[in-house]
């Protein structure tokens, strides 16, 4: 095994994993707190990438300004999707809202992805976004990285760390956990679950917007680019578990990034999603065994103490 290549892949994997961690945190909150299967997260990623790239191309605004505008647009798009599309369906359908919300989310994705493709990829299938150029930074032992990767890792790392601390130790975190556990009880003590849901969609979409822009800066904006990221984000959120603390989601995100990156040692680079799919498939298959009456032995045998209630 080429140790130098492996080390280089570890560096790429950690950077990639940091983006998965941020997307996974957002997806986990949307799935488990707001209770939305937000397929349109893919459209948010693609949309923000195109917004930044097209703004830069057509207006000549500085890259950072384009980035901020794209992130803000993504955040507003996420919040509006919740208020205009999902909330009325959830109110009407109650416990049976999964399918209507999912179908609406598909509709939003279909319309946004098609609109982006129709309006922005006529001349070229991709639109580049130049954020910090492609300068290479040399590291010890012949390794290297890029300025963009350093920025990606720093920003995503800071967001992930901030989110973990916020969710674990702050009043905001307690409110979010309360809504996740029982929205009705949370509202009985003064929390407004609807407002929490909108906030989650807003901030998670802002993060998706950031990742979309960073991805565009690395590979250019392209129609359908959000699907792959959405898939990885869902895998991180599902594998982490429904009530996973933020730190676990971040660690799973980094692990998925590393596994995906290192899989290049064994399979073609354009098939690395297969590895993530493999992880997901094995995880879900084991989980699904119980549905066939196959129960796995408990990891921690339960001992009950009399009178302990």
């Amino acid at each position: 095994m080429d140790l130098n290549l492996t080390a280089q892949l570890v560096i790429s994997g950690i950077t990639q994993g940091a983006t998965f961690a941020v997307l996974g945190l957002g997806t986990s909150l949307i799935l488990n707190v707001a209770n939305r299967f937000h397929f349109a997260y893919a459209a948010t990623i693609t949309g923000s990438a195109f917004a930044a790239a097209v703004l830069q191309r057509d207006t000549g605004l500085p890259a950072v300004v384009c980035l901020v505008i794209a992130i803000a647009a993504a955040a507003v798009f996420g919040a509006l999707t919740e208020v205009v599309v999902y909330r009325p369906l959830a109110t009407r359908s109650g416990a049976n809202a999964t399918l209507p919300i999912f179908v609406s989310s598909l509709g939003v994705t279909l319309a946004v992805e098609a609109a982006l493709q129709y309006y922005f990829t006529r001349e070229s299938p991709t639109v580049p976004f130049n954020l910090v150029g492609d300068s290479v930074i040399a590291l010890p032992f012949g390794l290297h990285t890029t300025r963009l990767d350093v920025i990606t890792l720093t920003v995503c790392g800071a967001i992930a760390a901030g989110a973990v601390v916020l969710l674990r130790y702050s009043r905001v975190g307690r409110i979010v956990r309360a809504v996740r556990e029982n929205p009705m009880m949370a509202s009985a003590v003064g929390v407004r679950p609807q407002r929490v849901n909108v906030s989650i969609l807003f901030w998670a979409s802002a993060c998706a917007g950031l990742i979309g822009c960073l991805t565009a800066a690395k590979y250019s904006a392209a129609a359908g680019m959000g699907y792959g990221s959405l898939f990885s984000a869902f895998v991180v959120a599902f594998v982490s578990g429904q009530r996973a603390p933020g730190l676990r989601v971040v660690l799973v995100g980094v692990a998925v990034g590393l596994v995906q990156s290192l899989s290049v040692l064994f399979i073609p680079a354009n098939l690395t999603d297969l590895v993530v799919f493999g992880i997901l498939f094995v995880y879900l298959s084991v989980k699904g065994l119980s549905a066939y009456g196959i129960r796995l032995p408990a990891r921690h045998p339960v001992r009950l103490t009399a009178g302990r209630a």
């Binding site: 299967f37 609406s104 598909l106 509709g107 994705t109 098939l271 699904g288 549905a291 339960v302």
Partner: protein, 579 residues
């Protein structure tokens, strides 16, 4: 504009209608939210292309091979997760859609981005299919076959069972019916139809490319199903033609170029999906299904009050004065369950005796409903044993427990909302030949005859609980008290020997509550074993022959309800908590 222009769109409409029908089978009837249509079609389509290029088989074997490969791959990858929550199914099928497209576009032997092109023109009955009109008879034939399969499955007792499963999986299993095998079967049939559609798409276009089977295509098929009407076969066909024909209509009416109309089409249908789900969720052709008729003589019987219990075979009565002498039917030993750090049930010992009404009483959170979940297999216990007639049923599934003769009701009713009261009760019937896919197609007469008999028997159950058997409204449109009657009739119609009734009076009062108590008493008169969880002490006093007092997940006292309430500590524990 030549006729071939329109024939081309008709052909595409026919192919996509097959795909929409296939998706509707799983989303509409089985409640499986799959986003894998394009992936399953791609497997069939690429198989056809490879066979066409390398083997040059005739059309029929080629399509059959594609269907077999597509079905086997799709089912192998999906079956392990069909028993999980819908979110997992969405995720895994979405992953398949993304990956199949990725694999196709990056694999040289599959043609990469360009795809597999230059397929030889297919032949049907010696005729080479060159222009769209040549394909019409073949495509119409396949659509008719797909429609027939979907219609027979959907409108049969099998379809009724699948719609109930879509509404409430555990509710169906608690009646003794397996759901997972049927879900896998429906999923397999749907994948077979989708693979066939993928094969036809490739044969028709003469090529197989990644864009032909992209995730966007899945979203468009979803749009066809939702716009046409979920659970509606005609709706799927109409939806497919609307989606396909928007493109030429835009070209003709707004003088758009083919590129523009193809680009605008998904935008229009994306917005349409959002609006239809919001404002017309049933779609253009709403779900309609055959409701079994009952004999007029039955429907003219007096309703709205509990009738006579003639349908349940009576057993010898037990003398309630000596309840401890009655044979033990259900015995629970050391049952325990912990959720995280919360001990819900803790070393519970309990006996249900034949022909008696046993009550579980205790404050909210004492673990009474959890006991029902544990002994009926809805939740696996951490420790302990459950014996039914001496047999260990501790690890059995809800359907296995129900089939052995112990059936429960639910505090939250779990009626099948989209079905009529009659259909709800008919689902309790056993050994229905029409509830298997083979029976639907191979024993249609036996299925129909059994269904008629079941309808008449179900009518008697509905009359017994005081409902009009001819009631055509769906359960979701009935009052809570009526839904309660439907749920009770459904439990009784299983003709089990042990009934577990979870708060039969919750949410009802006055005459409705009194009628419910009368019903339970009449069931007891037939010698059935009943266990009831109920908060109303008056009701428990009237019904129960024996009572267990639960505190903190275990039994703290047992005896007659009057003895228990005479104990000041138990009285305070109970009334103090509920007040």
């Amino acid at each position: 504009m030549t006729m071939d222009f329109w024939y081309a769109y008709i052909c595409m409409g026919l192919i996509y209608a097959v795909m929409a029908i296939a998706l509707n089978l799983i989303v509409g009837y089985a409640g499986i939210n799959s986003v894998g249509s394009a992936a399953f079609a791609a497997i069939g389509g690429y198989t056809t292309a490879l066979v066409g290029i390398h083997q040059q088989w005739p059309l029929l074997p080629t399509v059959i091979a594609s269907v077999v490969v597509g079905t086997v791959v799709a089912v192998a990858l999906s079956a392990p997760i069909l028993g999980l929550a819908q979110e997992y199914v969405m995720l895994i099928t979405m992953a398949m859609s993304i990956l199949v497209s990725d694999i196709a576009s990056s694999t040289t032997s599959l043609g990469g981005q360009t795809g597999l092109i230059g397929l030889p023109a297919p032949q049907l009955l010696g005729k080479v299919l060159l222009v769209p009109a040549d394909f019409l008879p073949l495509l119409i034939g396949v659509l008719v076959l797909a429609s027939f399969i979907a219609w027979r499955l959907g409108e049969s007792p099998f379809g009724r069972l699948m719609r109930a499963t879509r509404d409430d999986d555990l509710g169906v299993r608690s009646l003794g019916k397996s759901t997972l095998g049927r879900k896998v079967l429906v999923f397999g049939i749907s994948c077979a139809l989708t693979s066939a559609a993928g094969a036809l798409l490739v044969l028709y276009n003469g090529l197989a490319t990644p864009t032909l089977f992209s995730l966007d295509q899945t979203l468009l098929v979803f749009a066809m199903v939702v716009i046409g009407g979920i659970s509606s076969v005609p709706g799927s066909i109409v939806g497919a033609f609307i989606v396909v024909f928007l493109e030429p209509v835009l070209q003709q009416t707004l003088a758009m170029s083919p590129e523009d109309s193809a680009g605008i089409r998904p935008i229009v249908f994306g917005v349409a999906l959002v609006l239809i789900v919001r404002f017309r969720p049933a779609g253009i052709i709403p779900e309609r299904h055959h409701v079994p008729r009952v004999r007029k003589a039955v429907t003219e019987a007096p309703v709205a009050q509990p009738g006579a219990l003639t349908v349940l075979e009576a057993k010898p009565a037990i003398n309630p004065a000596e309840p401890e002498t009655a044979p033990v039917v259900v015995e629970i030993r050391g049952l325990a369950k912990r959720f995280g750090g919360v001990v819900a049930v803790n070393g519970l010992d309990l006996k249900l005796r034949e022909g008696l009404v046993t009550a579980l009483v205790g404050a909210n959170g004492a673990g009474k409903s959890t006991v029902f979940n544990l002994i009926t297999g809805a939740i696996a216990p951490d420790e302990g044993t459950v014996l039914l007639n001496g047999d260990d049923i501790t690890r059995l599934s809800p359907q296995q427990v129900a089939r052995r003769g112990m059936v429960r009701s639910f505090q939250d009713l779990r009626v099948f909302n989209e079905l009529t009261p009659m259909e709800n009760v008919m689902l309790a019937g056993r050994h229905h030949p029409g509830e298997s896919a083979a029976g639907v197609f191979l024993r249609p007469l036996a299925s129909r005859r059994h269904d008629r008999e079941l309808a008449e028997k179900s009518a008697e159950w509905l009359e017994f609980v005081g409902l009009d058997p001819a009631h055509k409204a769906r359960a979701r449109d009935m009052s809570f008290a009526q839904q309660k009657q439907v749920a009770f009739a459904r439990v009784l119609a299983t003709e089990a020997s042990v009934f577990l009734l979870d708060e039969p009076l919750s949410g009802i009062e006055g005459r409705a509550a009194d009628d419910m108590l009368t019903l339970v008493e009449r069931v007891r008169e037939t010698g059935r074993t009943i266990c009831v969880v109920e908060h109303s002490i008056q009701a428990i006093s009237r019904l129960s022959d024996w009572a267990y007092f639960m505190e903190g997940g275990s039994v703290s006292a047992e005896g007659s309800i009057h003895d228990l309430l005479a104990d000041p500590r138990l009285g305070e524990a109970y009334f103090g908590a509920v007040s």
